[in-house]
């Protein structure tokens, strides 16, 4: 039963300028310190204690901010050294003051009393170790009386500072009376847990709107708490055994139970930093277990990453023996990280992924020869990211992208089909549209060869209001995915497995639809081409290489066909052509038929899809008659007359610079065919309705003629036919141009024509008789 009264005096703390308050306090301290020292000089201990008590009384204030309080504390504790030194001196001279330890306890206020008690207690200890154990225990217990967080923290810090060099640091057998290291451990641990509690309590004081400021203030004070751990780490007698059985469990218990994120974050980090790596290795499981129990707000990843980095550095440091083989470091981490993920349903995906990334770093750094560890990481990440199903799609995507980026940065290789499957499953939000998942998967299952993408996909999506930004993002993500495909590598020797990997990748990536396969499948195809070349290079050791190459090209063929069906003719065309180039270099059985198939596919694509005649130049290097004629045929079947004309003209090159196998690399220079092509082009040009365009085409044709004429110079080829045709063309051009109304287009054509004529003139003036003769026929 309490009686309650209200005192008349209602003077609460007045918020005043910190600086002024601090100055006032400091001047009181200086005055009292001065008087204390004067009394000590006169050996008036009682008076000196009174002044010391007055001085310490300034630490009772509630008005100062932690920063100002710290300043005050520093000055006062500095002055207290004088008292301590005086007492030490007196005691050592044998002038021991009776019952001083009791005497200082008469101080009415607890703050000065405890500071004095600590000071005197430490003097007692320094003079005689007999009662050391009891005094230490008494001091740390009595400090419980200060429950005010700020004042308590500083008081206990003073205790810690004063006892710095007097803590017993010997094993039990040696010293019984003066205490042993276990007394020191009890002492520091109790002080630590009390300080931590006070520190945590600071957070819950005052108004909620000042939360941030309080958090800031707490950060400024964290070192006070950490000093306890530093002190423990300085005790030499704490060996691994003791650390594991006594020290760490107590620290972890306090940290976990306090439930405060700031404290947990700091103390865990502190443990990692102050204790030796060997200790961490020995207690990894306990430490990680505790990590799993921390407040969800704690960035556990930072703690673990910090620990992993330290251990990695330790393992690779010069002179270290590495991680002892009996400590399955990687297993610990991977199990515990899995547990953490399990226990923290709201762990952010970013944290989850960066944890796994750190683990990957460990696997790569410490266990260079254990690639299966990387598999394990991916597996865990996979199961962890299953929970990402709940996430909105941008987050999912950014997490997946992060993961991929990380792989790229670390050059993490994905060495098996299973892993490819897992990885792609993990980032499936990038691989395919979420909605299209089921359908695409089903499609992929039924028809592996036909790429089940939705052809209308791209245009449908393009109709969205922010489609442009979407497309940009998509392009970025998909190129990332594409780059990762290059990491699907089983290493230099496992070529068959590599093919399996590519097949898996293709199967899954194909579900992405036209917008995605554009970015993701070409790397697969190129990887396959690469693989074929590698098989070829290894033909000595693998007698089945021909068959395998063929298989690969079949695979590529079907893939590219799939791409073609996704309305990506340009891409497919290029891939076919490049494929043909590769086939060309690898002399397996029927490689000519394969190449033919590739190119004919290219042509058919070209015929069906391509309207850009400029693509034609791609074929210039080909070496088969049917292809050439097919090309010309294709060119002439272009839809628009001008395109036809240009394409057919370009085909003339095929018959000039082609290098069929029969000629042993020499150019075929079939002037007759060239002439036919050009003539046909001229005919096509004449069918153009637009006069300006016609003039343009004619001008271009003249240029072709000039080219071939000049190329034939010095040979015994008869170019008169060409020159005469060119001459007729020039006349036609002049005629058209004269009737042309002036416009930007006609201006352009004029210029082009003039430049052509000028070129011809310059060639004839250069003195080559043949050319001059020829040019004369051009009726210049």
């Amino acid at each position: 039963l309490f009686w309650q009264t209200r005192s008349q005096d209602m003077s609460g703390p007045v918020t005043e300028d910190q600086e002024k308050l601090l100055d006032e306090a400091l001047s009181v301290v200086k005055l009292q310190a001065f008087q204390m020292k004067r009394c000590l000089d006169k050996a008036k201990l009682m008076d000196a204690l009174k002044h010391a008590s007055n001085m310490l009384g300034e630490l009772r204030t509630s008005l100062l901010s932690p920063k100002s309080y710290y300043e005050l504390y520093m000055l006062i504790t500095d002055e207290m050294r004088h008292l301590e030194l005086y007492l030490l001196d007196e005691f050592q001279k044998g002038r021991r003051v009776q019952d001083l330890y009791e005497l200082v306890q008469y101080a009415g206020n607890i703050i000065p009393r405890l500071y004095l008690l600590i000071t005197v207690g430490v003097v007692y200890i320094k003079c005689s170790e007999i009662s050391r154990k009891d005094i230490l225990k008494d001091l740390v217990e009595m400090c419980r009386g200060v429950q005010h967080p700020l004042r308590g923290l500083f008081l206990r810090n003073y205790l810690l500072q004063c006892t710095k060099n007097v803590l017993p640091d010997c094993v039990e057998e040696e010293q019984e009376d003066s205490g042993s290291v276990s007394d020191s451990i009890d002492f520091v641990l109790l002080n630590f847990s009390e300080m931590n509690k006070l520190w945590v309590r600071m957070q819950h004081q005052g108004h909620t709107r000042e939360r941030d400021r309080r958090e800031q203030e707490r950060r400024e004070l964290k070192l006070l708490v950490g000093t306890n751990l530093v002190r423990l780490s300085q005790l030499d007698t704490i060996d691994v055994q003791r650390y594991r059985s006594v020290v760490l469990p107590a620290v972890l218990e306090q940290v976990v139970n306090c439930k405060d994120a700031l404290s947990q974050d700091y103390v865990m980090e502190c443990i990692i930093q102050v204790f030796p790596d060997e200790y961490h290795l020995a207690t990894l499981q306990d430490f990680l277990q505790a990590c799993a129990e921390l407040n969800p707000a704690v960035p556990v990843k930072n703690i673990l990453i910090s620990l992993i980095n330290r251990l990695s550095a330790f393992a690779t440091r010069d002179g270290s023996n590495g991680i002892p083989s009996d400590i399955p470091l990687f297993d610990f981490f991977s199990e515990q990280i899995a547990k953490i993920i399990e226990n923290k349903p709201d762990l952010s995906p970013e944290d989850l992924v960066s944890l796994q990334a750190a683990l990957t770093g460990l696997a790569l750094g410490v266990y260079k020869d254990r690639e299966d560890y990387v598999d394990k990481v991916l597996e865990t990440t996979n199961s962890g990211l299953d929970k990402l199903g709940r996430l909105d799609s941008p987050t999912k995507k950014s997490v997946s992208a992060y993961l991929l980026q990380n792989m790229l940065n670390n050059g993490t290789l994905v060495p098996s089909s299973e892993q490819v499957e897992q990885l792609l499953d993990l980032v499936r939000c990038l691989v395919a549209d979420p909605g299209a998942d089921a359908a695409a998967a089903a499609a992929a299952a039924t028809a592996t060869n036909s790429l089940g993408g939705d052809p209308g996909d791209g245009s449908a999506n393009g109709a969205g209001p922010d489609s442009e930004a979407d497309n940009e993002d998509l392009a970025e993500e998909q190129s990332l995915l594409g780059r990762v495909v290059h990491l699907f590598s089983t290493g230099p020797d496992l070529l068959d497995e590599q093919f399996g990997v590519l097949k898996t990748a293709r199967r899954i990536l194909a579900t992405g639809g036209g917008r995605r396969v554009k970015y993701t499948l070409p790397p697969v195809v190129y990887q396959a081409y690469q693989l074929a070349i590698r098989f070829h290079n290894r033909q000595d050791s693998d007698d089945k290489w021909r068959k395998k190459c063929r298989k690969i090209f079949e695979f590529c063929h079907s893939t590219v066909c799939g791409l073609a069906k996704c309305e990506l003719p340009n891409l497919a065309l290029r891939l076919f052509v490049d494929g043909a180039l590769v086939v060309d270099k690898i002399p397996f059985d029927q490689h000519d038929t394969v190449a033919y198939e590739f190119l004919s596919q290219a042509f058919s694509l070209y015929e069906e899809e391509i309207s850009d005649s400029k693509r034609m130049t791609c074929f210039a290097a080909e070496n088969h008659e049917p292809l050439r004629s097919q090309t010309v045929h294709a060119a002439s079947k272009l839809l628009r007359k001008p395109d036809q004309s240009r394409a057919v003209a370009a085909c003339a090159h095929l018959f000039w610079s082609g290098r069929p196998r029969e000629l042993q690399g020499a150019e075929m220079r079939d002037l007759k065919k060239v002439g036919e092509c050009l003539k046909r082009a001229g005919r096509l040009a004449s069918q153009c309705m637009d006069a300006g365009l016609q003039a343009q085409l004619y001008t271009e044709l003249v240029n072709y003629y000039l080219y071939f004429v000049l190329q034939s110079a010095g040979s015994n080829l008869d170019v008169s036919q060409l020159s005469s045709t060119a001459g007729q063309l020039l006349a036609k051009i002049r005629e058209i141009l004269s009737g042309l109304e002036p416009s930007a287009d006609s201006e352009h054509i004029h210029k082009h024509f003039e430049a052509t004529v000028e070129f011809a003139r310059s060639q004839s003036a250069s003195g080559d008789a043949t050319i001059a003769g020829l040019l004369a026929q051009l009726e210049l």
Binding site: L1, F2, W3, Q4, T5, R6, S7, D9, M10, R60, E102, L103, Q105, Y106, G108, N109, I110, I111, R113, E141, M142, R144, G145, V146, Q147, H148, P149, R151, G152, K197, R201
Partner: protein, 384 residues
């Protein structure tokens, strides 16, 4: 007055035997000054000398008398001096002194039942008075001495443990290691916070001295805070334990006195005070008995006489759980009358009886079995 006019015919001086060796204590004189006087214990003889130095050649007197007096004075009423002890010796028959002389006196085995006390409204003093009876104005000289009453309680008596609180606001459990402390003792205890919903700023233990003089409507009461001792700074949370250690030796304390000669009592209370941030004070008073412990020498003799096996010197602090039925009570509301005052009343009766019993044999020890004070307290508590 007459002395002043004519001047005294002789100087009187009282010298108590062994007063140089004896322990001294302060006596508060009427003038307000303090004088160091020797300390006596119950049953001890008081002996000494009276020096009479004549200032004239001779002095005629009608007898010289020495008295040992124990007096209780109430300041409010000078007339009501009460002599509880009065012994007299004739030092000289009527006659004529022709020279200075020294007369010896001795009071053997003087029963000194009460402790000397100098309070706010009352004082209890012992003194030797020498009177030279003369025809006109007697020569009188007084010499104060102090009496310390000694007591001994076994340390195993048990402490005070109590749970108090305000419903849904504050529940604490406090514990003092003993209920009876000797004057150089230390109060060891702890406070355990079971529930804290108020913002405590600090907490202190006070030692209160309550002096009650007289009975009935004329009684006067005075309460004085002898010590204020801060034991906690800041607000604890649930589950905290705060230690208490309060050394008594440095304060001016007397033993607890109950119903001294039915005239006055001096009792001590430990007052646990919590002050919250709005300056509201919550307090709980708990009476403790203070006693003067027998000095080592005395104790040893006493032990030998009593053949007691247990020794107060080596006794350990008590961890024996007090009987919760009477020590432990819990009140869900505040504002009722002070239980301390109520229980104090009954305890005073009981202890008074004890003191009276034990005064006879010079030993104020209470054997563990003889605990009628606790049983009566118990009854009182249950009534509440």
């Amino acid at each position: 007055m007459m002395n002043f006019l004519f001047g005294p015919s002789a100087d009187l001086e009282i010298h108590l035997d062994g007063s140089d060796d004896r322990q001294k204590g302060d006596v508060l004189l009427d003038s307000g000054k303090k004088e160091a006087c020797p300390v006596y214990f119950d049953g001890e003889a008081v002996s000494g000398k009276v020096n009479i130095r004549l200032k004239q050649s001779k002095m005629e007197h009608y007898g010289i008398r020495v008295e040992l007096l124990g007096l209780i004075e109430q300041f409010s009423d000078r007339s009501s001096q009460h002599e509880f002890l009065s012994m007299a010796r004739e030092l000289a028959r009527p006659g004529i002194l022709t020279q200075s002389c020294c007369l010896e006196f001795e009071f053997v085995s003087v029963e000194k039942p009460y402790e000397s006390y100098f309070g706010v409204n009352v004082k209890l003093r012992y003194f030797i008075r020498v009177t030279v009876t003369k025809r006109l104005n007697d020569l009188v000289k007084e010499q104060d001495f102090l009496v310390h009453t000694l007591a001994q309680y076994p340390d195993t008596l048990g402490g005070i443990k109590m749970e108090v609180g305000i419903e849904d606001c504050l529940h604490i459990e406090f514990e003092y290691n003993k209920s009876k402390y000797h004057l150089k003792d230390a109060i060891i205890g702890k406070i355990y916070f079971l529930l804290v919903r108020i913002k405590v700023r600090h907490m202190e233990v006070q030692i209160l001295r309550r002096e009650l003089v007289g009975v009935g409507p004329n009684s006067m009461s005075d309460c004085e805070t002898v010590a204020k001792f801060e034991i906690m700074d800041g607000a604890p949370v649930k589950g905290e334990t705060i230690p208490i250690r309060l050394f008594l030796g440095g304060y001016e304390l007397t033993p607890t006195m109950r119903d001294v000669n039915k005239r006055f009592s001096v009792r001590y209370f430990l007052n646990l005070v919590l002050i919250d941030e709005e300056d509201r004070r919550y307090f709980k008073q708990q009476e403790v008995t203070l006693f003067r412990r027998r000095p080592n020498r005395h104790r040893r003799i006493a032990q030998e006489q009593q053949h007691q096996s247990q020794s107060a010197d080596t006794a350990q602090p008590v961890h024996q759980q007090p009987d919760r039925s009477y020590f432990h009570h819990r009140s869900a509301h505040f504002g009722a009358k002070s239980p301390a005052a109520a229980s104090g009343r009954s305890a005073a009766n009981a202890d008074g009886a004890n003191t009276a019993n034990n005064n006879n044999d010079n030993e104020a020890a209470v054997s563990p079995g003889n605990s009628d004070d606790s049983s009566s307290q118990s009854g009182e508590s249950n009534d509440q």
